[in-house]
């Protein structure tokens, strides 16, 4: 009888021990002037979840041979992109075909990757793990490694209250970390808050950036703001900006199957653009000046599905900016650089 009572007490103790410890809410540092970010209701930010997500982001355990992490191709010193490379090289030496995208202010995005294949950030994480040109692993393989790790079992228990790690918690943890990577401390932001001045060249560039390319207007404009406007410097849309006359990469059309989407790619934010060469979905332009030159005189009017917003520029035969104006535009783009993304310890590799 005493033995039975002991078993009962032990069972109660075990069952009481099943309750995970309470999590600590994570306070997101939203830059001044940014709208409130839509954090997924089913994945509230917690200190435990964010730190776990960061650890996973930088842990090469996610790749098949444990040599590459997410951070390998999304480096803070390069605006969360891949070291100025046109395409990233995976663990087998295979090379991708699209330029590594920056990972800041993702809380505001509603579709991920150049072609929008992932509607949620939590899904994004699982794609490179399984891509043979990237981490060349399987979700099952990653989960086996994580579940074999007492450290990860403990961290997932504390963050999500699970004893067995599944793809769901893996995605949620990575999502939490990536949601916290906010960038809104550039020179432009300090100028907008009245804390710093822009140089005359940067001011001119800003006026060009926000001005219409309208031959009837008394002021000059480069029409950048239509697609890269607002505080996030993107309209979050998928557009064809007239790069090619023949579509070789379907972009969004490859995901939707809609012929009207062929050749459309995600409009990237121009925040930290100086950090993230080369440019465009295929990294064809090495410098910002090359990009400006493209819009100035290189767009293709007969590109299939070209966006109507490009019409004004194309009708005018390009922006028609002179060299000094193009340099001013580049100077303003450089003022969108936020060095805090490189120095903020919250975003850094915890294994270093």
């Amino acid at each position: 009888m005493k033995y039975l009572a002991l078993v009962f007490v032990a069972l109660v103790a075990v069952s009481c021990g099943e309750n995970p410890p309470p999590t600590t809410p994570y306070t997101l540092n939203v830059p001044q002037g940014f709208p409130p970010p839509p954090i997924p209701e089913d994945n509230p930010l917690t200190v435990e979840g964010v730190l776990l997500g960061r650890r996973l982001f930088y842990d090469p355990i996610l790749s098949r041979d444990s040599t590459q992490s997410c951070g390998s191709c999304h480096n803070t010193s390069f605006g969360m992109t891949d070291h100025g490379l046109r395409f990233s090289t995976g663990i087998t030496g295979a090379v991708g075909d699209r330029n590594s995208m920056p990972l800041h202010n993702l809380a505001y995005h509603t579709a991920f990757f150049w072609d929008g294949r992932s509607p949620m950030l939590r899904d994004l994480t699982l794609v490179p793990i399984q891509d043979p040109r990237e981490m060349d692993h399987s979700v099952e393989g990653v989960l086996a490694k994580l579940n074999a790790s007492p450290t990860y079992r403990d961290l997932f228990w504390k963050a999500f209250g699970v004893k067995t790690i599944t793809a769901e918690e893996l995605g949620l943890a990575a999502e939490q970390f990536m949601l916290t990577i906010m960038s809104g401390s550039s020179k432009f932001d300090r100028f907008a808050r009245g804390l710093e001045s822009l140089t005359p060249e940067e001011q001119q560039g800003m006026q060009l950036f926000n001005g219409e390319a309208n031959p009837n207007s008394p002021t000059r404009g480069a029409d950048c703001f239509h697609c890269h406007g607002g505080n996030l410097f993107t309209n979050h849309k998928f557009m064809n900006n007239g790069l090619d006359t023949v579509i070789t990469d379907p972009g969004l059309g490859g995901v939707t199957g809609n012929p009207n989407d062929m050749g459309k790619f995600k409009v990237p934010s121009l925040r930290n653009i100086a950090y993230t060469p080369p440019y465009m979905h295929d990294g064809r332009f090495q410098t910002l000046m090359e990009v400006v030159d493209f819009y100035n005189s290189g767009t293709h009017a007969n590109s299939p599905n070209i966006d109507p917003a490009m019409g004004d520029i194309i009708r005018a035969g390009g922006l028609g900016l002179n060299l000094q104006e193009r340099l001013a535009l580049v100077a303003f783009l450089n003022a969108l650089t936020d060095t805090s993304i490189e120095s903020d310890t919250l975003f850094q590799n915890p294994f270093n």
């Binding site: 709208p35 409130p36 839509p38 505001y108 239509h226 406007g229 410097f233 979050h236 966006d307 109507p308």
Partner: protein
């Protein structure tokens, strides 16, 4: 038996004590149309009946505000949300064009409805970061805030048109306070019970309501400045582009 009678009595008393509400809910539903048919996007099939121009629509985004019911004496009753704040709406391709007003409208027969495509000055030039997640004026919801230049684009319509056989883009972004688009629709609006008012947005009227607008002649692009007045003419057409369809019971 005694318990049953007691139960019935209690139920009857409860029903009798429940006051019949003095307020009703109301829903506004807008259907994007072209010449009476559903507006088709990404299809070069929309022929303007007056000008003969053929259009393809890619984008029809608009911000609406200043919703009000017109009372029998001609005064306006502003519509507000649960918190008593003004109602705003953002209409875009692929999502329902519906505005729901909670149970706070006095039961009555109204004689019309009014709203504005656009915003008042305070909202237009105010800090856009104050709007909560999902609010129609949150810039990440509508993508119509001009950012550093300040203010919202009230309506952004874009697409292509046939110009002498060539497919060419058109784009009209209607902004600035002088281009606010007030809409007034008169009709019997019996709100003595919950109702849904169905309206049509007749997009063909953008190009021929008060003013004829032809992209090939009047300019295919406007951001509401230095455009020869085309944006303003379209804005006046927009005010005439909504029509009353039906008042339905709301279940």
């Amino acid at each position: 038996m005694r318990n049953f009678v007691l139960f019935l009595a209690t139920a009857a008393l409860a029903a009798a004590c429940t006051p019949e509400g003095n307020d009703v809910s109301f829903q506004l539903s807008v259907q994007p149309k072209w010449n009476g048919q559903d507006l088709a996007y990404s299809s070069m099939t929309q022929v303007q009946p007056e000008t003969g121009d053929t259009f393809q629509f890619e984008r029809t985004d608009m911000i609406l505000s200043e919703f009000a019911l017109i009372q029998a004496d001609g005064s306006r009753l502003p519509l507000v949300d649960e918190a008593g704040d003004p109602i705003y709406a953002f209409f875009t391709k692929g999502k329902p064009w519906t505005v729901s007003i909670p149970d706070n409208i006095p039961k009555a027969e109204y004689i019309g409805i009014a709203f504005t495509v656009g915003l008042d000055s305070a909202r237009n030039y105010g800090d856009p970061s104050v709007w909560k997640v999902g609010h129609p004026l949150n810039p990440t919801v509508n993508n119509l805030h001009w950012g550093w230049q300040g203010g919202y684009v009230f309506m952004a319509i874009e697409g292509f048109y046939q110009n002498n056989g060539a497919r060419e883009p058109w784009l009209y972004h209607i902004a600035n306070m002088e281009n606010r688009m007030p809409v007034v629709l008169n009709g019997v609006l019996d709100l003595r019970g919950p109702r849904r008012l169905v309206l049509n947005w007749n997009a063909e009227k953008l190009f021929y309501a008060l003013h004829e607008v032809r992209p090939s002649e009047d300019g295919a692009f406007s951001h509401s400045s230095f455009d020869g007045g085309v944006a303003h003419r379209i804005s006046e057409n927009v005010s005439q582009s909504f029509s009353w369809v039906a008042l339905e019971n709301l279940k």
